[in-house]
């Protein structure tokens, strides 16, 4: 089964004819993802590496029954692209594009949530279900199929941890990058809920970072609702208070949202927390070994 992307995924790439869109779109296709369409206004009728391009998402959905969209358009067109996808009936939106104004994302979140649309991002690396589908920019060669669900706010940190897992012989059901912006379409809790329900996932590794309170919420959710073991990693123990560290998500306000506070919250809910990517991978191996 896996979550978010799998063999049932029929992908439309919004912005397929752009340089990044075509690079990653065709890369996803070569991986085996069922990339059925691209959308670029004014370029309907063309194709990119055999993938037909349409003027509108509605046309793409009508012709190809696309059910998932990957968004690779410039920031100022991204909100429009997300609305277009959702209104055309797309059920899963993966927004790689970054730089969306937070107020726009606020409205998008409020708009799509009651519709039951699954969204990752903006500013996220996408989702990869090894052996099934890769939607986004995650380097698939680092990962192998397996039973660990991996969810993270960060891109390269995810790859680092995935790499360490692979080296210990552990594979993944799905790797999910939720994105580091202040408002993203899916929270840790949203993804943990899906992992809990997924029959291919047996354990979960959660990769958080300083700022916000999503890790704390995840801790409470894990304690209350999860039967599958979760181990966690939090980045930013040495980040000084009040400094912005690149991710808009990683702003510390007051004492809440620190790595230490998050670690304590998770441990209080029975989640083991590693202090380095290497350690969290070993914890995951422990858990997997204990349950094997």
């Amino acid at each position: 089964m896996a979550i978010i992307v799998d063999n049932e995924t029929r992908l439309v790439v919004q912005g397929l004819t752009g340089s990044e869109g075509s690079f990653h779109g065709t890369r996803n296709k070569r991986y085996g993802t069922n990339v059925v369409a691209g959308v670029t206004p004014g370029k309907g009728g063309q194709d990119v590496d055999g993938i037909p391009v349409f003027d509108t998402v509605a046309d793409a959905v009508a012709e190809t029954h696309a059910n998932t969209s990957m968004i690779f358009v410039p920031a100022r067109f991204a909100a429009d692209a997300i609305y277009e996808a959702v209104d055309a009936g797309i059920r899963t939106v993966i927004c790689i594009a970054e730089g969306l104004p937070a107020h726009e994302m606020l409205r998008i979140y409020a708009y799509i949530r009651p519709k039951g649309v699954t969204m990752l991002g903006p500013n996220c690396p996408g989702a990869l279900s090894p052996g099934k589908a890769n939607v986004g920019i995650i380097p698939a060669e680092i990962f192998s199929p397996g039973s660990i669900g991996l969810v993270s706010r960060s891109g390269t940190l995810t790859y680092q941890i995935g790499h360490e897992l692979t080296q210990l012989g552990l594979g993944n059901s799905t790797i999910v990058g939720i994105g580091g912006d202040p408002i993203v379409g899916s929270s840790f809790v949203d993804v943990l809920e899906k992992f809990e329900a997924d029959d291919e996932t047996e354990y979960v590794v959660m990769v958080g970072e300083i700022g916000g309170e999503e890790e704390e919420k995840a801790a409470r959710f894990i304690e209350a609702h999860m039967t599958k073991p979760v181990v966690a990693y939090i980045a930013g123990f040495t980040a000084p208070p009040g400094k912005t560290m690149g991710h808009a998500g990683a702003i510390i306000s007051g004492s809440s949202g620190t790595a230490e506070a998050k670690k304590r919250a998770l441990e209080a809910c029975g989640v083991r927390v590693g202090t380095s990517p290497t350690e969290v991978a070993r914890l995951a191996a422990d858990v997997a070994g204990a349950h094997a």
């Binding site: 969306l100 409205r107 993270s152 960060s154 930013g236 980040a239 690149g246 380095s276």
Partner: protein, 380 residues
Amino acid sequence: MDLYEYQGKELSRRYGIPVSEGRLATTPDEARAAAEELGGQVVVKAQVLTGGRGKAGGIKLAEGPDDARAKAEQILGLDIRGHVVRKLWIERASEIAKEYYLSITFDRGAKKPLLMLTTQGGIDIEEVAEKSPEALARLHVDPLEGFQPYQARRLIYGAGIDDPNEQKQVLALVGKLYEAFVGCDAMLCEVNPLIVTPQGEVKALDSKFSVDDNALYKHPEIAEMRDLDAAPAEERAAREKGVTYVKLDGEVGILGNGAGLVMSTLDVIALAGGRPANFCDLGGGGDAQGVVDALEVIGADPQVRSIFFNIFGGITRCDEVARGILQALDRMTIEHPIVVRLDGTNAEEGREILAEASPPNLHAEPTMLEAAGRAVEFAR
């Protein structure tokens, strides 16, 4: 992007929020002229992008032009929490009967704007929230519903403002502040204190605006308000080069790709017993110019004793990064030892490129932990 008080007040005025009249001054003479124009008592206020100005002596009452000049002389050049005062806001003094607090923030947890109002203004809001939470009225706004007057009423009754004349003014003011919040793509609009004068007039005595960087393209007039001189010189240099750089206190210069990985790198350096000198994220790039730019910024920090180059290739290809490093070393002289860890996309090729060239002060390590240990050793 944080705005100065005077800039926030300029935006406030545009949205119809009552503020005092004032003038900007950068010299004592300008402060004197401003006070003369305004007439009567004025307040001389340091313009810095940090709090605690009052306690630091950055806000002073002046009786007239000459006094304003004198006070300006005292305040200009002050160092307030690491921010040197270079600008002053001279404004007509207000009589204060009551001090309230009003703000709209971006509540990332609730994914909604959050309104907060209390009659215990003028002091630290975290203190009010902690010590007398019942005094702080809080209400979320549904972004699709937008601001509705009832929200302001709930705040007003919740905070216990019971004078009808004040209620009316605060009601209007909350609506205008919300308009400003949405209209400017703000992440924070804070008025502390929101004062009531002895005559019953409600007015914003301070103004703190923080605007979403991602939305500045919609607001060129706000984008222009950015004070390039406000950030530390090295961060400014980095910004100009498109590199995300934050200066820290240690000795190990750090360079990586992706904010999460770089934060993790900082932690691993600390675990290895070292202290990171900076946070520096190359982002998705990693071409030669990006590497040169980043190395220049890091190398300019006199505290740096070694550099840890931690790359995990995703979109970024390790072979390109390796070439970037070599080109950078060609173009500039780096005295410090550089420890490089390459993994991910094209890592093999990257390592080979470095091994072939093997510049003298460059040390490749296979894992992040080992590399961190080595970099810390070099920094000792």
